[in-house]
């Protein structure tokens, strides 16, 4: 693949298809969109297959560089983090198109064009290596999303899209100012160079806060999260999927790509801020999720809680934390996307998101009940699903920095189980109470084709996460090397054992284990078995 501009091609395919969609009828537009997203998915698989994961591999691969004017360049290239997030985007896109197949009836060509535009912008954001190219992709991503909510959304879409716009715009202005300053000071807009540039510590704090304003909104972190429930509730199903699946990952990606490597000292100093906001978010939004009566709102609030697990992991300054955060992002993209699809499935049948209007779906929709259960369990973080791996690593990383924050955030596993199982109970279990629910048919072939691939990947990531961890391993190491200077330290470091205590222990073991070799088994045999096992 040397020299072949595969990233540009991945941008070009949906871009051309988007334009084509505008000139055809609804039916053709659907097929064009599906074909384009599938082609991009295949290209994504090629990208992954050709990505060099060996330890000696260069950090940036598939790079392209074409100066446009001045210092502004068409610079693309990916590392393991970007690769994984691109894979997530190209995987979810065909599913989004499929989810909109029948549900969207008005202005289909425009709708499909906008979705393809979202895909272009998402891939562009993850692949951009030029600061302003990144900015363009990053901010422009707002616009199609905003249109999708504003035109194809629910009854209260205007308020939702306005709120969405206001929040994200405010954040981006501050980030833009920070970017201007950086490019002027460092004299480059090339991201890999900036990642190695040492800004003075006092400046770092301001720049960090500028980026933080934008990323915290995108994440979203408490207390700038209130746009998310409204946006989700009003967005069409596929809009919610892409919003939760990919757009929410921009914030985390931003922290990973900019805040941490470019401002390591500031990151270390402000870790307390991230930790505090995240810990509040976990408890606060989980409790809110418990009392929701609208399915989409419930899942939206649970997203905020899950994203808080991402931020604590990123700022744990250790391998488990960062790898965990990345896996939570990937997993959440799949699982919350799938949960929104599950809501969409029954919304298409009954046109309401009220939890109380359902109940007893296990009786007439058993296939739906199984898949919904799987995604519910993945959201709860049951081991064997993708949700567990990320959550576990991220919290394990956090524990090494702060036991308090780890304790508070781990309560999320209790609260998460409570609100998701309570949701499942009200929607799926019980007797059927409404006649219109009774006649709801089980999943169609199309719907199974949308959910089954996600289910397969959720289990794959849960059982063999190595596939997803391996491409990022070298990048995590590079990042840690860079940020380690800002490491805020740990509140829990153990001391070595005391020789006196160890001797006392050994004497006691000697005494109780009696005579003869049998008694020595207590300590010796586990070691032997261990040796034999590896």
């Amino acid at each position: 693949m040397d020299g072949f501009p595969i990233l540009s091609l991945m941008l070009a395919v949906p871009a051309i298809a988007a334009v084509a969609c505008l000139f055809v009828d609804a039916r053709t537009a659907r097929w064009i969109a599906l074909a384009a997203t599938l082609v991009d998915f295949v290209l994504g698989c090629l990208l992954w297959a050709n990505f060099d994961q060996s330890p000696s591999a260069p950090q940036w691969q598939f790079t392209e560089y074409a100066p446009v004017f001045g210092r502004f360049a068409w610079a693309l290239g990916i590392d393991g983090f970007a690769l994984m997030l691109i894979m997530l985007s190209v995987f979810l896109m065909p599913i989004c198109i499929g989810a909109s197949w029948d549900a969207i009836e008005k202005r289909v060509p425009e709708y499909m064009a906008l979705f393809l535009l979202v895909e272009v912008l998402m891939i562009g954001t993850f692949a951009a290596q030029d600061l302003f190219l990144f900015y363009m992709f990053f901010e422009a991503g707002l616009i199609p999303m905003y249109l999708i909510i504003g035109i194809w959304g629910g009854a209260n879409r205007i308020y939702a899209s306005y709120k969405f716009f206001l929040y994200t715009l405010l954040g981006s202005v501050l980030m833009f100012i920070a970017m201007l300053y950086m490019s002027v000071t460092a004299g480059t807009t090339y991201i890999p160079d900036l990642m190695a540039y040492d800004f003075p510590a006092h400046v770092q704090t301001w720049l960090w806060l500028g980026f933080f304003a934008s990323f915290a909104v995108k994440m979203p972190m408490w207390p700038v999260h209130t746009w998310l429930p409204d946006a989700h509730v009003q967005a069409p199903t596929a809009g919610s999927v892409i919003l939760a699946g990919v757009l929410l990952k921009l914030g985390g990606y931003g922290f990973l790509r900019f805040s941490l490597p470019m401002f390591p000292e500031a990151s270390g100093q402000l870790t307390w801020l991230i930790f505090a906001l995240s810990a509040v978010a976990v408890v606060y939004t989980s409790l809110i999720a418990l009392v929701q009566s609208d399915m989409k709102k419930l899942i939206a609030y649970s997203s905020v809680a899950h994203m808080a697990i991402v931020t604590i992991g990123l700022f744990a300054f250790n391998q488990q934390g960062i790898e965990g955060a990345m896996i939570v992002m990937l997993s959440h993209g799949l699982v919350s996307g799938a949960l929104f699809l599950c809501v969409g499935v029954i919304y298409d049948r009954l046109h309401t998101r009220e939890i109380a209007r359902y109940g007893g779906l296990a009786n007439n929709m058993p296939r739906y009940a199984i898949l919904f259960l799987l995604f519910t369990m993945a959201s709860i973080g049951l081991p064997g699903t993708s949700g567990f791996v990320g959550e576990f690593l991220s919290l394990a990383g956090t524990y090494q920095v702060s036991t308090w924050i780890a304790l508070v955030c781990t309560t999320g596993i209790i609260l998460g189980a409570a609100y998701m199982l309570y949701l499942y109970r009200r929607v799926v279990w019980g007797e059927i109470k409404w006649d219109d629910v009774r006649v709801m048919p089980d999943l169609s072939v199309r719907e199974i084709a949308l959910l089954a691939p996600i289910a397969a990947v959720v289990l794959w990531m849960g059982v063999y996460p190595e596939s997803f961890l391996a491409p990022m391993r070298a990048d995590v190491a590079t990042l840690l090397e860079r940020v380690n200077r800002g490491n805020p330290g740990s509140d829990s470091k153990p001391t070595a054992g005391k020789p006196a205590a160890i001797a006392a222990y050994e004497a006691r073991v000697e005494e109780v284990s009696g005579h003869g070799e049998a008694g020595e088994g207590g300590e010796a045999a586990p070691a032997a078995a261990h040796g034999g096992g590896h």
Binding site: K163, I414, A417, P494, E523
Partner: protein
């Protein structure tokens, strides 16, 4: 071989679960039961191999799992003595429960799902006991939690079953919070999550301190107590026990397999598996002893007043788990595992026996509506009798039923340890109560005069009334058959003043009786057959647990009174039960009259549910609403996006034009223009 034992149930679960109605009841049942029978047949040779000393511990690598720095977990199957014991317990009870369910669930419309869940549970439990690292153990731990949730909620139409399922999962998650933090801490300290590596390094951490929540505490104490919180959740110890009695909402075979023989003993297994870690922290061991003893007596007191046959056995299970923990707490891990082993057989027997009674009584579970059943269902009666003799610990001069060997060993070792003498007294008193409530159950059920005329379930059955909801309908076919038989014996309209309402219970089918008979063998003989290996042979354990030779010798040198204490209280309990339930049946009512407050306290299960509801459940919902309405909407939105009047006005102006869609083009152009202009400015410098 071990791969087959572990993965056959998984494959069977997938086949039965996904095949479901497409493959039909018989195929689903045959696949799952067949898989379990094979697993069982493969497990016993492994156990016997360890018993005869011909086998050595081994670890079979299956697949890489999580690799993140030092946190390197693989899917691997560890087989040593401890695992081998659990293997035979799990596969044997599971295979028998599968078989039993052919009869018990015969009329259920959803059988493939039930059998798939049972097999899935077995797989998860096997993954737990074969774990070579803490993460895989946690996988199994949560996996059995999932299966337990699904099986408690199997009759998902029943609100009480739904609530019980969620409660079980969430309360277990509280324990899991401790387990997870324990794993994190262990990783932080040892930089590995491999169990053998941790156990090897644990002694070097004696006297070390660690920061936890702002305090500096003894490292091993912190780690062990965090892990023990997990064990408390899974094994329903005092404080985290509230889910277990409610779990009886599940079908009875489930209670026998999961909530008596296997899953609830996972906590005990974990403490034994990590025993070299616990040994480094005397403080942690003291806590384990204390919690175990407290649970043991607490649950036994409640067991004496319950009227639901399954709940009596559930509290009994909770109490017996307390014995296992305090045995572990005093350092007698072998005794804890031995009681786990024997308890699995006789408690599964008691539960399946109770299931057989419930089956015969058309789903009446209230013992006040039983009575005189020993003539109607003699095989069930005799097998349950064996279970009762086992749990109360009947035996003399070194020969007795299973519980005689294991429970008495625990009491003796508690005394011998010195530090556990408090636990000895508590345990002895609990043994008195155990004997009392076990015989109370037997007498109420099998002796006396029939009292089921007042039971609604029986009235429905006797009059062929099929107005039932689905869960109770599971054996409607049987019931109507019984009812017809009943009508055959008695004339219609004849007044049944013998308390039977014309209903005559029938013995369960052979497929249900056979498992009872097999388990009876275990309840009678497992104690005598294996007590030497479990309690007195370090060579049997081969280092799989911390083996305290000194303590195991000392338990033989306890005073005679200590030795016979268990037998004496067993007899006392029996005599009290005979007096109260056979000789003077009016006595219990009088007693209740006398001690009304105490009785109400016990009937309300020490008010734990009410307390937790008040402390956790209600506040969680209240705070949720508060944060939502007063936090998000009342504060953040009000001062944020809805902001000042000007902003709102601007918002509505913007919003007014949104409809046309033009504003977006403007925004887009603005953004691009801004970016381009600025870029130009920078580039042109």
């Amino acid at each position: 071989m071990i791969q087959a034992i572990v993965f056959l149930p998984l494959i069977a679960a997938i086949v039965a679960g996904l095949g479901n109605r497409a493959i039909g009841n018989v195929a689903a049942k045959s696949v799952t039961t067949g898989a379990l029978l094979i697993a069982c047949l493969l497990s016993w040779p492994i156990f016997l191999g360890f018993l005869s000393g011909n086998r050595a511990a081994e670890v079979v690598h299956v697949l890489d799992f999580i690799k993140s720095g030092g946190m390197d977990a693989a899917w691997a199957l560890r087989v040593d003595t401890l695992t081998a014991i659990m293997l035979v317990v799990i596969t044997t009870v599971s295979a028998l429960v599968h078989l039993y369910s052919w009869g018990y669930m015969a009329e259920d419309p959803d059988q493939p799902r039930f059998f798939a869940y049972l097999s899935l549970f077995t797989f998860a439990m096997l993954m737990l006991v074969t774990a070579d690292n803490l993460i895989q153990m946690f996988f199994g731990w949560e996996g059995v939690g999932l299966a337990s949730y699904l099986l408690i909620g199997f009759w998902y139409k029943k609100p009480s079953a739904q609530a019980a399922a969620i409660k079980a999962f969430v309360v277990n998650r509280v324990g899991d919070l401790g387990f997870m933090l324990g794993i994190f801490g262990t990783y932080l300290v040892f930089n590995t999550i491999s169990i053998p590596a941790i156990l090897e390094a644990a002694p070097t951490m004696a006297g070390s301190t660690i920061g936890f929540l702002g305090y500096r505490l003894d490292t091993m104490t912190v780690l062990c107590l965090l892990l023990f919180v997990g064990a408390m959740g899974k094994s329903a110890q005092l404080g985290l026990h509230t889910w277990l009695p409610d779990a009886m909402e599940g079908p009875t075979p489930v209670s026998a397999l999961i909530h008596a023989a296997t899953m609830v003993t996972a906590g005990v297994f974990m403490v034994c598996r990590l025993s070299p870690m616990f040994e480094v922290s005397p403080t942690a061991l003291t806590v384990v002893t204390g919690v175990g003893a407290a649970t043991c007596i607490f649950a036994a007191t409640i067991g004496t007043v319950q009227t639901d046959i399954k709940r009596v056995i559930a509290y009994s299970t909770c109490s017996q788990l307390g014995y296992m923990f305090f045995a572990a707490g005093v350092g007698a891990y072998g005794a804890a595992m031995f009681h786990l082993f024997t308890h699995a057989f006789f408690k599964a027997l008691l539960f399946l026996g109770a299931g057989s009674v419930i089956h015969a009584m058309h789903h009446e579970q209230d013992m006040r509506f039983y009575g005189g059943l020993r003539r109607h269902i003699p095989i069930t009666f005799w097998t349950m009798m064996a279970g009762t003799l086992a749990i109360t610990g009947v035996g003399f001069a070194g020969v007795g039923f299973a519980g005689y060997h294991s429970k008495d060993a625990i009491l003796e070792v508690a005394w011998a340890s010195g530090s556990g003498q408090g636990a000895f007294w508590v345990g002895t008193f609990a043994a008195l109560l155990t004997s009392f409530y076990s015989w109370r159950l037997m007498f109420l059920t099998f002796w006396g005069k029939p009292r089921w005329a007042g039971s609604e379930h029986i009235q429905h059955a006797a009059h062929g009334d099929h107005h039932h909801d689905a869960p109770a309908d599971e054996d409607a076919g049987h019931a109507s058959a019984h009812a017809h038989a009943a009508h055959g014996h008695d004339d219609h309209g004849h007044a049944h003043d013998d308390g039977t309402a014309g209903y005559h219970p029938h013995e369960s089918p052979l497929v249900m009786l056979a498992p009872l008979l097999v388990l009876t063998l275990g309840a009678v003989g497992a104690g005598f057959a294996f007590h030497h290996a479990f309690l007195e042979e370090a060579g049997f354990w081969k280092g799989a647990i911390f083996y305290n030779q000194h303590l195991m010798h000392a338990m033989h040198e306890v005073p005679a009174l200590v030795k016979y204490a268990a037998t004496i209280v067993m007899a006392l309990g029996l005599l009290t039960a005979i007096y109260a339930y056979l000789l003077r049946p009016t006595f219990p009512a009088k007693f209740v009259e006398q001690f009304r407050v105490l009785h109400r306290f016990l009937m309300h299960k020490w008010y734990f549910d009410e307390l937790y509801d008040l402390l956790f459940v209600k506040p969680a919902f209240a705070f949720g609403r508060l944060f939502w309405k007063a936090g998000d909407e009342g504060t953040i939105d009000r001062f944020g996006p809805n902001g000042s009047a000007a902003l709102v006005a601007m918002g509505s102006r913007v919003a007014g034009r949104v409809q046309s869609g033009y504003v977006y083009s403007y925004a887009f152009v603005m953004l691009i223009g801004l970016t381009a202009a600025v870029t130009w400015a920078i580039a042109g410098r």
